[in-house]
């Protein structure tokens, strides 16, 4: 059981956290033909756009209501209307997703009211799906923006089935948290399909931000889950929610459509995937295909081979709650100690983390604590690079943003195979670090302390 504390500093140094409007915008990016629109100053969008472009190495659809100082004070109706009409005329989207920002929330714009009025005044957009989510920057974090947006999409776009008889037991809804990559979603899709089930992902970043070459040039998202498919999610037999952040969306789905849900707080590691296999076997009535039996063996073997390197590691992780839970959990299960855990926002998983204390803080906290506790492996997003290089400890990048490495969108964590590869990647990093920085010398043992790092096995 961990205690959760909040940093007492006035000044956040080297932020770990990103804002919730762009978390919301990313959720909209998992919808086909979507244009996420931030209701705020143009910088609110521009910063998010650059961040995602650098992470995914893809063109990112994202627009702004371009609020000026005067418009902000007078209220943003005209800007929202103009933005919606301009987007409609220029890009012909299938859906516009609007997230508010700190600027417009401070004034208190009634965007739902605006949308109603815009529809009344402009016949062209009267039936265009427009979803609005309130996501002020001065509250919560990226993960919360994603959570609120998915919940809102479920509440407003999923249709309640007319009768229970129309439910299709082979259809499964999947509500993934924002800690899963497009690569994770593809892996999960394959697994679920291998059980003869037909999954619908909401949001489906694998369709839009996996790097594929689109069939046609479009300024909106180039794939993802369609509006039509979302509306039919109420006919599925089950909902699989991944990460505690998806609890609310799964509950909203159940409340609205009666589709029961199963929460997987983790999908990385042996037990989590055993639970997934058991669940899929259960709901599909099919035994786990042979390939997963082999893959399970491979993961077990990877854990055995990797534990030499990971066992005993003093781990410092900076990540949003669900990602922290996944990676902290996996490495702890292989003998690492989660000595430093820094996160961005409150979550029920935090107090269940295998560590004494979880701090809602920043990367300065992560760096200082890692130094104080003599940690020898840091896991966080790319912004940890300065801290890790100052501490001279191996640094494994996970989470958004990952702007200084390729393949962030394909980093795999879920499934037996995802866990296996992740263990190899981290173990290889540790072996390389050992070879480069911790080879024994005649003086290694002179102080009687010995090499402070796990030995390489031969």
């Amino acid at each position: 059981m961990a205690t959760v504390t909040v940093s007492k500093k006035a000044c956040s140094v080297n932020p770990l956290k990103m804002s919730q409007p762009i978390g919301g915008a990313l959720a909209f990016m998992g919808l086909r033909g979507a244009m996420p629109l931030l209701h705020g100053s143009q910088g609110c969008t521009s910063f998010g756009l650059v961040l995602f472009t650098r992470h995914f190495k893809e063109a990112i659809p994202m627009q702004t209501t371009a609020m000026s100082e005067v418009a902000t004070v007078l209220g943003g109706y005209e800007n929202v209307e103009q933005a919606v009409l301009n987007i409609y005329n220029r890009t012909k989207p299938e859906i516009i997703g609007i997230c508010s920002t700190g600027v417009t929330e401070t004034k208190g714009d009634d965007v739902d009211g605006y949308i109603k009025l815009i529809r009344e005044k402009n016949a062209a957009v009267a039936h265009l799906p427009i979803v609005y989510v309130s996501t002020p920057d001065f509250k919560d974090a990226f993960q919360d923006g994603w959570e609120k947006t998915v919940t809102r999409i479920v509440e407003t776009m999923v249709e309640a089935p007319k009768s229970a008889a129309r439910r299709d037991p082979t259809k499964v809804n999947v509500l993934p948290g924002c800690h899963l990559t497009p690569g994770d979603l593809d892996e999960l899709r394959t697994i679920i399909e291998d059980f003869g089930l037909e999954p619908t992902f909401l949001p489906d970043l694998a369709g839009s931000l996996d790097g594929h070459i689109p069939d046609d040039f479009t300024p909106t998202t180039i794939g993802g889950v369609g509006v039509e498919e979302i509306s039919m999610m109420g006919q599925a037999g089950w909902t699989i929610a991944i990460g505690a952040q998806m609890q609310r969306a799964a509950e909203a789905m159940e409340k609205k459509t009666g589709v029961p849900f199963r929460m997987f707080e983790r999908l990385c590691g042996l037990e989590a995937n055993d639970a997934l296999m058991a669940f899929l076997t259960d709901i599909s009535g099919r035994p786990a295909p042979m390939k997963y039996r082999r893959q399970r063996g491979q993961l077990v073997d990877a854990m055995l081979d990797g534990h030499f390197h990971i066992g005993g590691r003093k781990l410092a992780v900076g990540a949003e709650p669900d990602l922290l839970n996944e990676i902290g959990g996996l490495l702890t299960e292989m003998g690492a100690q989660l000595l430093v855990a820094v996160t961005t926002t409150q979550s029920p998983v935090l107090e269940r983390l295998p560590t004494e204390e979880v701090l809602i803080g920043d990367l300065e906290d992560l760096e200082n604590l890692a130094k104080a506790k003599d940690c020898d492996l840091m896991v966080t997003h790319s912004h940890g690079r300065q801290a890790a290089s100052r501490l001279k400890i191996p640094f494994f990048r996970m989470g958004i943003p990952m702007f200084d490495r390729l393949g962030g969108g394909h980093q795999l964590m879920v499934g037996y195979r995802g866990g296996r590869d992740l263990i190899f990647d981290i173990s290889n990093l540790l072996m390389a670090d050992h070879d480069e920085n911790h080879e024994p010398t005649p003086d290694s043992w002179r102080d009687g302390v010995g090499s402070s790092h796990a030995a390489t096995s031969h």
Partner: protein, 556 residues
């Protein structure tokens, strides 16, 4: 102390700014508040612009007062390089929460300044205002003043919240903050007749270091670079320099001009992109320093250095020229550097098929025209689809642009090179030019293009998405060609003024109906160019065309 709105007014009145020169008094007062188009804008905000301009000051703690978005989504993402302190790469933000929004964030800001001084003890702290604290009335000027007195350390307010305007305005507001609070507040340890300020250079990818050895060799001291690899004390004492070079066309013209006004430091606008530009700039620096008292022999040494460096660079480039023969470049830059890059590419023997001048000022465009001759194909607001079509038509062999538009080229399997802020290579001076040519060659002749253009085994030749897209585009064009009425409709529907959403046809009709001959006349009649004024150039072109057309008719 002047208010933010007064400062903005002052910036709008900048006589050196081409855009302002086109505007009437009343239009200038309105400033850029109407410039941004909801749902159609993609640029950064004024805060972004201010931070871009100042963040390369390496030993300063840059503290962003606002919610997490402003710093948390964007910190440590600039390609500027430092030869010393890395404090500028540390992200500091007050990360204000709901309580601060209700009760005010000034206390948190003051405490934050104290924490930074206690932990990092920088020579100065820059405090950036953002939209939310500006709305709730946090007075950062007062907090900075109190902190300055309490901690006896420069704490500089940078008043440029995002919603006051675009990135460009932020650049200038940052300059105003330097003029008001930093420049001239300290004295240099010594001065020489060779002291030069470089203004508007950010040392992206360390490009300033491609030129610095040349200046070192000539004995010219960069007294202060504003702001690439700059240090607080250097900027604070930069008022003792003898001359200044303004590098990035318009970003900090107010700093250069006002330093001339206040401290008598003459400046010129130059570029180190391209061989001839580099030589011209070195000559101009030498000339100015000599005028301000440096020995005349500096010019001889400068000429000798130029001759040597040019010969070396031309020799290095010469071997690429045959490889570049007939190769066409599509240049799309988001910024004001278009004209300097154009010159550089032409020196390498490449042909330009178009250059975007979206954010360039009138003078920039004139320069591009001058350099490229009358055939300059100005690309205003090219849509991604048009860009893509242009590449696919093989009218361009390679596209050079900023990071955001790269995917259009890459998805079309076309060579692409980054020439904006995020780029990894430095292209300044003589060596930089050679580097750029080398990179273009590497991109053009990479065998990967042949690989990625191969059809998948399940694709019939000529039935892939590329050819389908092209066929569609051609069908659209053919339909237009066959239907003159529709073609005319499309031509007339071209948006000329984005701010006021005025189409070409409306402007033409107004000119004909009212016998207009000036931009002002068109503005009064149609409201076009009544916003940011950037389209005034386009309207002038329309006027020119229509006048010459009517003369032609009259002559018949």
């Amino acid at each position: 102390m002047s208010s933010l709105s007064a400062t903005i007014q002052d910036v709008f009145n900048e006589p050196g700014c081409g855009k302002n020169a086109n505007k009437s008094e009343a239009e200038r007062k309105k400033g850029c508040t109407k410039q941004l188009q909801p749902g159609g804008a993609a640029g950064g905000c004024a805060f972004d612009g201010a931070k871009i301009a100042l963040q390369p000051l390496t030993d300063v703690a840059h503290l962003v007062h606002g919610p997490i978005a402003c710093e948390g989504n964007s910190w440590d993402n600039r390609g500027a390089k430092s030869s010393g302190s890395n404090l500028w790469r540390t992200g500091f933000t007050t990360d204000i929460n709901e309580t601060d929004v209700v009760f005010g964030g000034e206390k948190r800001l003051f405490k934050s300044i104290r924490e930074i001084i206690e932990k990092y003890d920088p020579p100065a702290i820059f405090v950036y205002q953002t939209c939310v604290p500006a709305m709730i009335g946090d007075d950062i000027d007062a907090v900075c003043k109190a902190a300055r007195e309490k901690f006896n350390k420069p704490v500089i307010p940078i008043n440029s919240p995002g919603f006051v305007g675009p990135k460009n305005l932020g650049n200038k507001l940052a300059g105003e903050a330097l003029l008001q609070h930093v420049i001239g507040t300290e004295e240099p340890e010594y001065t020489t007749p060779y002291d030069l300020n470089i203004i508007g250079e950010y040392n992206l990818s360390g490009e300033l270091w491609q030129v610095k050895p040349l200046l070192d060799e000539l004995g010219i001291r960069i007294m202060a670079c504003i702001s690439g690899d700059g240090k607080y004390k250097e900027v604070a004492s930069s008022h003792r320099a003898k001359a200044a070079m303004m590098v990035c066309s318009k970003a900090m013209i107010n700093v250069a001009r006002k330093m001339e006004e206040r401290y008598g430091i003459p400046f010129f606008e130059g570029s180190f992109y391209g061989i001839e530009d580099s030589s011209d700039s070195l000559r101009e620096i030498a000339r100015m320093l000599i005028e301000r008292g440096a020995p005349a022999e500096l010019m001889d040494r400068t000429e000798a250095l130029i001759a040597r460096e040019e010969a070396k660079a031309w020799a290095a480039i010469a071997k690429y020229k045959p490889r570049f023969e007939g190769k066409k470049v599509l240049l799309i830059t988001g910024g004001v550097k278009s004209w300097s890059v154009v010159a550089a590419l032409q020196e390498a023997g490449l042909e330009l098929v178009g250059t975007s001048v979206k954010k360039s000022t009138k003078e920039d465009k004139e320069r591009i025209k001058e350099l490229m001759g009358q055939d300059a194909h100005m690309i205003e607001d090219m849509t991604p689809r048009e860009m893509y079509k242009m590449l696919k038509d093989a009218r361009a062999d390679i596209m050079l642009s900023g990071g955001r538009s790269q995917f259009i080229a890459l998805k079309a399997s076309m060579p692409w090179l980054d020439i904006n802020q995020e780029r990894h290579h430095a292209y300044m001076g003589y060596v930089g030019m050679v580097k750029l040519v080398e990179e273009i060659d590497k991109a053009l002749y990479n065998p990967v293009w042949a690989q990625v253009r191969k059809p998948a085994p399940w694709e019939k030749s000529g039935d892939n998405w590329q050819s389908r897209a092209m066929a569609q585009a051609e069908a659209e064009a053919a339909a237009l060609a066959a239907d003159p009425v529709k073609a005319e409709e499309v031509r007339r529907a071209k948006k000329i003024c984005n701010c006021k959403s005025v189409e070409l046809g409306v402007i033409e009709d107004a000119i004909l109906a009212n016998h207009l001959s000036t931009v002002e006349g068109v503005r009064d009649a149609t409201n076009a160019s009544g916003g940011c004024g950037a389209c005034a150039v386009r309207i002038e072109e329309i006027l020119e065309q229509m006048v010459s057309a009517s003369h032609a008719i009259a002559a018949e």
